[in-house]
Symmetry: C2
Subunit: 447 residues, 2 copies
């Protein structure tokens, strides 16, 4: 039933669907947008919320070895000295002396802008051919000032990752969580990076949401847990329906690794614009805790009761992007039939709306019965009532946003106390008794 | 059983409990904190998450007239011109010419720093007695720069409220949500205000989380909905257990009202530091939509099919703070018995941990049975396993964080297949069959 969609067309189709149905669209669009930040409309906000809540449930509630935290975006600037972000979180930047457009030097050298070598062999501006400045390092952290004084003593940064909020709190959490190694601290929250070249829809943006785990282990168990977490996180995406062929693991080559990382593996997704990082799992060793001890003067070591010894735990970091996960789920679920009608085959747990309720026509008792069913079901799930247009058209609307079940109240309903339940992917319909409907959906939707 | 705690002591007790049990503590504490931003530890993050999820469920999922959105923190700067924040979101600031400390002029004049009038009748510095500058207006929005150019054309602001993200998207959401007036758009998210004098724990901070609704109505129904929303939101706090005597409504006097507001009412909570705003409900009329039309050039009017006419809807705004709600719930739930033991009598739906499972001793089959029970229950709720110290001590630990139910596996358990369930507030214990435990808690905890 599904049409094969060329990868080149797929991204445009998804961006169009997101815009048309209000899943995702540019922030501040009435002012022309900002080019690097996106808003989630009603269905997008529900999808994104489902991604977060499922991660929170699976990675924290269901596990014995994990606690959550919620640390702030504006942290003490020393945090970023300790983490190395102030000195090293930079991209090389060159500027055109004529039109003042700026570019990442590495992108120019990689040929992203084509051949931009001018007379005499020097690189020239891709936009106007002007002469370029020497490159200088540009820090990707957004800077602002806390309090009424705008001087260097009051400069603070929007966090570029949630991770450092966990490292800085390690000892405080360790004390209250009463956990022994191995255990993890998990957090969901916004981070900000002043990317010079954002792009690919919500893939690379200046404001984004992360779901990060810092998992603290005995140093000699780090390799084992690094391997385990790669498997756990890969399985998580698979469990929510991402196709096997669209996922791959990419181990970082030694020269790619940050100096503090012993190993790093990306879980990549086959986005329409190419294989790209969905989540990274890194073995950060004891770098961060040691740095925070050095810069704060606070002991960041772990005391092991059994061995009566103190040491720095190693850290395995599975770091995922909420927006990237939501985008991958959207891409993976996107299908069209031969007529070009869209089916978003989302796992029902991710679907923004779980059930739509339709009265076949707006007369006799049908709307009343449909409303009663809607009122009951929405106590448990996000449910939508729709009485506009033909039933076929209403199915199309729900298929497009990935609603797994539609309930139609028809002319047989008042007599037989049954409704038609239609499933999105099989398009199969079955009659279900109204009084059994709640349990029917509890069986289908509660996993 | 409860001890009467003087209001003066209560705040200190709550701050201590939050620190001791890791509910809430200063951000970047190992670096001395920032003085105006707080982190939520494991139990705090769970409490805050429950506040947000209950609001999301009650205000969006359960209602027919509400859709969510999730807009960005960094918006186009024109948004803040249109909203009036660039010109008017300011406090009057004076600076000491000697020690360069800065103060809010209105606070000095209100006598917050005592009598600081020097020789000649002029106000002097409360800290060093030095001469003060003339006051100038200080904008409370945090400013930063988007992209690599640090000039005024690239200045952006951290949003001081989520509300404008809703107004700017009004037409986009209206189109995709297929709603007619009255309907609302709801959003939860972080906002930032560079307060000159933050304080009172998490009450006034520079980074905070809002839960805001913009409810669009026919202009002649604005008063009716304004009254309705005050009642809905007051009832919401009451439904989650806030004591009636600790809530009051404060209608803003005419001179207090922002120029765009027809009326505004605060739901105030009796915090230990005095009656203070928990949530504000305002009738913003059509100010914001008109402003955005003026500044963006986009038509922001609503088309009413029935009357075949176009007009600006009026807006009722119930705007609550997640952190303030969490703090009020904590204050309201705080109890001590005569021995000074703490009981956090949170509504179970707010409790970070719903059930704790204890093996009476760590021998025979007791830990195995307790673990099996824990494994089953945690599929449904956040559950904690605790085998440390006496059972009495374990009860204390759970009472302090507001866990409503404790399950103890004792010596009778292997023989009778029953456990003891102890309820936090009544301290009553009852024997429950293990195989009935899941349904028992479903009955208690699912509302």
């Amino acid at each position: 039933m599904s049409k094969n969609i060329p990868k080149n067309d797929l991204m445009e189709k998804i961006v169009n669907l997101c815009k048309r149905r209000g899943l995702i669209f540019p922030s501040s669009e009435i002012y022309g947008g900002t080019g690097s930040v996106w808003d989630y409309g009603p269905y997008g906000a529900l999808l994104k919320n489902n991604v977060k809540m499922l991660w929170w449930r699976d990675m924290i509630q269901f596990r014995d070895d994990m606690v959550p935290q919620d640390s702030s975006i504006l942290m003490h600037p020393k945090v970023w000295e300790a983490s190395g972000h102030i000195s090293s979180f930079t991209d090389p930047l060159v500027e055109c002396k004529k039109c003042h457009h700026r570019f990442r030097e590495d992108h120019i050298l990689e040929g992203k802008y084509g051949n931009v070598v001018g007379k005499g062999g020097k690189v020239v501006c891709p936009d106007c051919g002007g002469e370029m400045t020497e490159s200088k390092m540009f820090n990707l952290m957004f800077k602002t000032f806390m309090g009424p004084m705008e001087d260097s003593a009051h400069a603070v940064y929007l966090r570029p990752e949630t991770a450092q909020g966990i490292f800085a709190n390690f000892k405080a959490i360790l004390e209250v969580a009463r956990k022994k190694l191995p255990f993890g601290i998990a957090q969901i929250g916004k981070s900000f990076r002043n990317e010079i070249t954002p792009g690919n829809f919500t893939f690379r943006t200046r404001e984004f949401e992360q779901m990060e785990i810092e998992y603290f282990v005995k140093p000699d168990e780090a390799e084992k847990w690094y391997d385990k977490w790669i498997k756990i996180r890969e399985k998580w995406y698979r469990d929510y329906g991402v196709k096997k062929d669209n996922l791959r693991l990419r181990k970082h080559a030694k020269k790619e690794l940050a100096h503090y990382a012993k190993g790093a593996t990306d879980i990549e997704y086959h986005f329409p614009f190419g294989w790209s990082e969905l989540e990274g799992i890194a073995n950060r060793q004891d770098y961060d805790l040691k740095q925070h001890e050095k810069f704060s003067g606070h002991d960041m070591k772990y005391f092991e009761e059994e061995g009566m010894k103190k040491y720095y735990p190693y850290v395995i970091e599975p770091s995922g992007g909420v927006d990237r996960a939501a985008l991958a789920f959207l891409v993976d679920a996107y299908n069209e039939n031969e007529q070009g009608e869209v089916f978003l085959r989302l796992d029902p747990r991710l679907s923004p709306i779980k059930i739509a309720v339709f009265p076949l026509v707006n007369k006799e008792k049908l709307p009343n019965i449909a409303h009663d069913i809607y009122d009951e079901l929405k106590q448990n799930w996000f449910v939508q009532y729709d009485d506009g247009g033909s039933v076929g058209r209403r199915y199309r609307r729900q298929d497009e946003i990935g609603t797994p079940y539609c309930v139609t109240v028809d002319f047989d309903t008042p007599k037989k106390n049954t409704v038609t339940v239609r499933e999105r992917d099989s398009m199969k319909q079955e009659r279900v008794k109204i009084k059994e409907l709640l349990d029917y959906f509890k069986g289908k939707l509660s996993k």
